[in-house]
């Protein structure tokens, strides 16, 4: 038994516990890449601050 060559699969019930983290992470990605004030309620501020990142990460931007 070598721990390196045969990693054990993590059971699905244990993975399911971490599922709520996914929408939180996607919300961060949305705020960084796509939001125009609809959710952040900061108007265009977030958009302008992240502006260059959005263009250079390849996301559609104005």
């Amino acid at each position: 038994m070598s721990g390196l060559s045969t990693p054990s699969a993590i059971p699905f019930p244990r993975l399911r516990l971490w599922l709520p983290a996914v929408p939180v992470l996607l919300l961060i990605a949305y705020l960084v890449l796509m939001d125009n004030g609809a959710i952040s309620q900061t108007g265009a501020y977030l958009h302008e601050l992240m502006h260059d990142g959005r263009h250079l990460l390849g996301v559609p931007c104005h």
């Binding site: 699969a9 516990l17 983290a21 960084v32 796509m34 302008e48 250079l56 390849g58 104005h62």
Partner: protein
């Protein structure tokens, strides 16, 4: 176990995001500056005498600092999602070594989530793109990401059914990936909002820098996540061995 992987994904993602930000700052920002200069020259021509003194919410230096904030946060979010997917894949799908799985998964993520949408809806510099169509363009971009992810799932499921050896398996996987992707490339509406007269060289250089930023991110992320995972696996394998030795 999952917690360790998630924390690893968040931290490695932050680091890879900052590295990608460095690349974007060096190779992308000069193109963004050129595009903005063109946009402003064009606006001044359109309305001569009209001073372009519109109040800027965030100035150019602020936006260049914001670049690192954006790529860093993007890295955290992408790294966290990657780690949870990796936790599900481990021991079920893909290479058996932790580092090999990290590299394979990061390469697949780049192909499915970055390259597939980029071919259809490539990145555009400022001054390219109609503000009125941003919503439909964003929806199409997200649809293309979902196509890439669905195609990956189809490819993995197909490959697992093929028992005729590794070559047949690879051919089946690549074909199962490409068929839905090429169909989506062909069928989804084309977006071309490059203004007449916009320098082709600048557009090409910007798009290359943009794709390069994502390539740097996913390469750095895959290598770092794989390296840390292999190290952790070696340590985990060493500890029980020495602890179990006396008994």
């Amino acid at each position: 176990m999952v917690r360790t992987l998630l924390v690893r994904g968040l931290l490695v993602g932050l680091l890879a995001g900052l590295i990608a930000g460095g690349f974007a700052f060096a190779f992308g920002e000069p193109r963004v500056d050129s595009a903005i200069a063109l946009e402003e020259a064009h606006a001044a021509q359109e309305a001569p005498g009209h001073d372009h003194g519109e109040e800027e919410l965030v100035g150019r230096p602020g936006q260049k600092a914001g670049l690192f904030l954006a790529t860093g946060l993007y890295g955290v979010a992408a790294g966290g999602v990657f780690a949870l997917v990796y936790a599900g894949l481990r021991g079920r799908v893909g290479p058996r070594s932790p580092g090999g799985l990290a590299l394979a998964a990061a390469g697949t993520a780049f192909a499915a989530v970055i390259l597939v949408p980029f071919v259809k809806y490539p990145a555009n510099p400022p001054a390219v793109g109609d503000p009125d169509t941003i919503n439909s363009r964003t929806v199409l971009y997200v649809v293309m990401i979902l196509v890439g992810l669905a195609a990956t799932a189809i490819a993995v499921a197909t490959a697992r059914r093929v028992t005729a050896g590794p070559w047949a398996r690879w051919v089946a996987a690549v074909a199962a990936f490409l068929v839905p992707v090429i169909a989506a490339w062909a069928l989804l509406p084309t977006v071309d909002e490059v203004p007449a007269g916009f320098p082709a060289t600048l557009l090409w250089q910007f798009r290359l820098a943009s794709l390069g930023t994502q390539l740097v991110f996913w390469t750095a992320f895959g290598v770092l996540f794989g390296w840390v995972s292999d190290r952790a696996a070696r340590q985990a394998a060493a500890v029980p061995a020495t602890a179990a030795a006396p008994s």
